[in-house]
């Protein structure tokens, strides 16, 4: 779950990381009030979950009531990567002596948290050459003591007061990262004003799997309605633009199902990984979700493991009979309790495949017919 910039800054502030004075506004009038509250020159920033705000002209520096109102009106009307702007952050403009980059995130290959820092902040970190970036893994059982920050600061070429302040900042950022179960805490740019470090931006992503123990964090929806409904059901769902609705169990086989349909000339309408162990009830709900996509075909590809074929078969029978579904269903089913599942489908008169590529071909053919 991504946090809006102002939420990330609230998190940072709570852990003693200096951020610019600022206030959130939802209208030009609120923006002007925020400007008065902050005082002096400000920057108006759209609160959207994308990193391309600056390049798209969404960041405005202004210093009068009229200019603030105009900028707020402009930016609230903009879209960024298809995302509308509901809120603005009106912040003091801070003195910039030098810009750094600092982040903590997960390095899957190492199985560790990694600290990434650069003395070339303020631009896309991807464009900085490898030598300009310091990467430092964190021992999860030791955590981050100040020396880790000093070590990284030293490698960035910092010395004197900035070195000590950077070390303190790193300790605090790691504390914020761990306390919030973040999988990303990014500050870019991290501004050295000449006297202190200030987090001029905040990109924070919380581990969805840890939200159950993060009751105090705000909740941010970054999904379409149908994606949200899927998430509420515990399903991994992504909407695509084809006409074959797909349900499978397991991310890998779901991807392979899309690959196979595409390879055979079909166009998947979605990615839906029903995961393991979704029972009859859950499967019915997932199928209803797919129906909402108005597909030409619904393709169910079940390879039973934790998921049991009989559960899925019962769900399909119930779904088809209760909802009087007209859309053709193509079902492929093997694995745990396969015999029982096939028996249930057979008794309900629903045909089922056992070979994935055959089932996929059938689905593509039906979608073509329906066109």
């Amino acid at each position: 779950m991504k946090l809006f910039e102002y939420m990330g800054k609230d998190l940072f502030r709570a852990h003693g990381i200096k951020v610019p004075a600022g206030q959130v506004a939802a209208t030009p009038a609120e923006a002007v009030a925020a400007w008065r509250h902050v005082g002096g020159p400000v920057v108006v920033k759209p609160q959207v979950l994308t990193g391309k705000r600056g390049k798209a002209g969404g960041i405005r520096f202004v210093d009068s009531a009229a200019a603030v109102a105009a900028a707020a009106g402009d930016v609230l009307a903009m879209e960024f990567g298809g995302l509308k702007v509901d809120k603005l952050l009106v912040e003091e403009k801070i003195a910039i002596s030098r810009e750094y980059y600092l982040a903590l995130t997960v390095d899957g290959a190492a199985g560790k948290t990694v600290l990434i820092a650069s003395a070339s902040g303020g631009m896309d970190i991807e464009e900085v050459a490898e030598e300009g970036i310091v990467k430092r893994h964190i021992d999860p059982l030791v955590g981050v003591m100040p020396y880790v920050g000093r070590e990284v600061a030293g490698r960035l070429g910092l010395t004197g007061e900035p070195l000590k302040q950077f070390a303190d900042l790193v300790v605090r950022l790691h504390r914020a990262y761990r306390a919030s179960d973040a999988e990303l805490c990014e500050i870019n740019p991290l501004v050295w004003t000449g006297a202190e470090f200030v987090a001029a931006d905040a990109k924070v992503t919380i581990d969805d799997d840890a939200l159950f123990r993060q009751k105090d964090l705000p909740r941010v929806a970054e999904k379409t309605d149908v994606e949200k409904a899927a998430a509420d059901m515990g399903l991994a769902f992504v909407q695509l633009d084809g006409d074959i609705a797909v349900m499978a169990n397991g991310a890998g086989i779901t991807m392979a199902t899309l690959d196979t349909l595409s390879h055979l000339g079909g166009a998947p309408a979605n990615f839906l990984d029903a995961g393991g162990g979704t029972g009859t009830e859950g499967t019915v709900k997932a199928l209803e979700l797919l129906l909402g996509l108005n597909p030409k075909v619904i393709f169910i590809n079940i390879f039973g493991g934790i998921t049991r074929c009989d559960d899925v078969a019962r769900a399909v029978v119930r779904f088809k009979s209760e909802r009087l579904v007209k859309v053709p269903l193509v079902i492929r089913m093997v694995g745990t309790n396969e015999a029982e599942g096939l028996r249930i489908l057979r008794e309900a008169g629903i045909p089922a495949h056992r070979v994935m590529v055959e089932a996929a071909a059938s689905a593509v053919a039906l979608a073509g017919k329906g066109a």
């Binding site: 199985g111 948290t113 991310a251 086989i253 991807m255 690959d259 934790i306 093997v334 590529v357």
Partner: protein
Amino acid sequence: MAIIIDENTRVVVQNITGRQGSFHTGQMLAFGTRVVAGVAPGKGGQTVEGVRVFDTVDQAVRATGADASVVFIPAYQAGDGAFEAIDAGIRVLVVITEHIPVADEIELVTYARQKGVTLVGPNTFGIVSSGKCKIGIPSNHFFVPGPVGVVARSGTLTYEIAANLAAAGLGQSTVVGLGGDRAVGLSFVEVLTLFEDDPETKAVVLIGEIGGNAEEEAAGYIAGMSKPVVAYIAGKSAPPGKRMGHAGAIIERGRGTFAGKVEALLASGARVASLPHEVPALIGNVLQER
């Protein structure tokens, strides 16, 4: 021979009284796995599928000499159970549970490594040495003894391919699920190294997916292997930048792309299948060429 587990492996099932735990205990016993104990705190003394239940892994290990454990504990306390198994002296730890917070996984991976424990998962289907021992959740009937080692990141896709192999008369030595999460215990390279040294394994199937750089690293090792490798990479048609269920499948910064992985694997000498059902034929070819 087989890798990591075999007919002598003695398995304890953690949360054996849960729905998944009890069901798969029955399945594992049916496969021939020596399930010697179950654990369910507060429920010591019961039996599940004829297996004695203990309150703690410590008690289970002391009473039965178990050396492997499989964790069916819900995500919010799975880390606790996994650490318990490590401290109790378990040598092979299979964590089936998905949706464990990544911070907990990172601690677990580090601790297992520190204690020299082979950690399979988290978020894995498990590990199967055909005809000898299954620790995990795949259906029993895809697994027949044979010369093909299989290592994969994702579960169901692996059953698909294992079933295709079996249908083509190609049995498996051992099938290993690394687990679908970002921080897991084993890497492709570690498992490939074990297959390279296993006399029973004649060829290896690697089942990867987009995201991360595990397949690229694997390619670096495959280049020096004496045994042939056939790979399949899922996610060719996945839209870029979208998260596809597995956190590991995020495509970021141009790394971990389908094209990059296929290119690296081809350069290493591996054969790469376009679709899952092509794998058996390619394995048949490489075994014949030997």
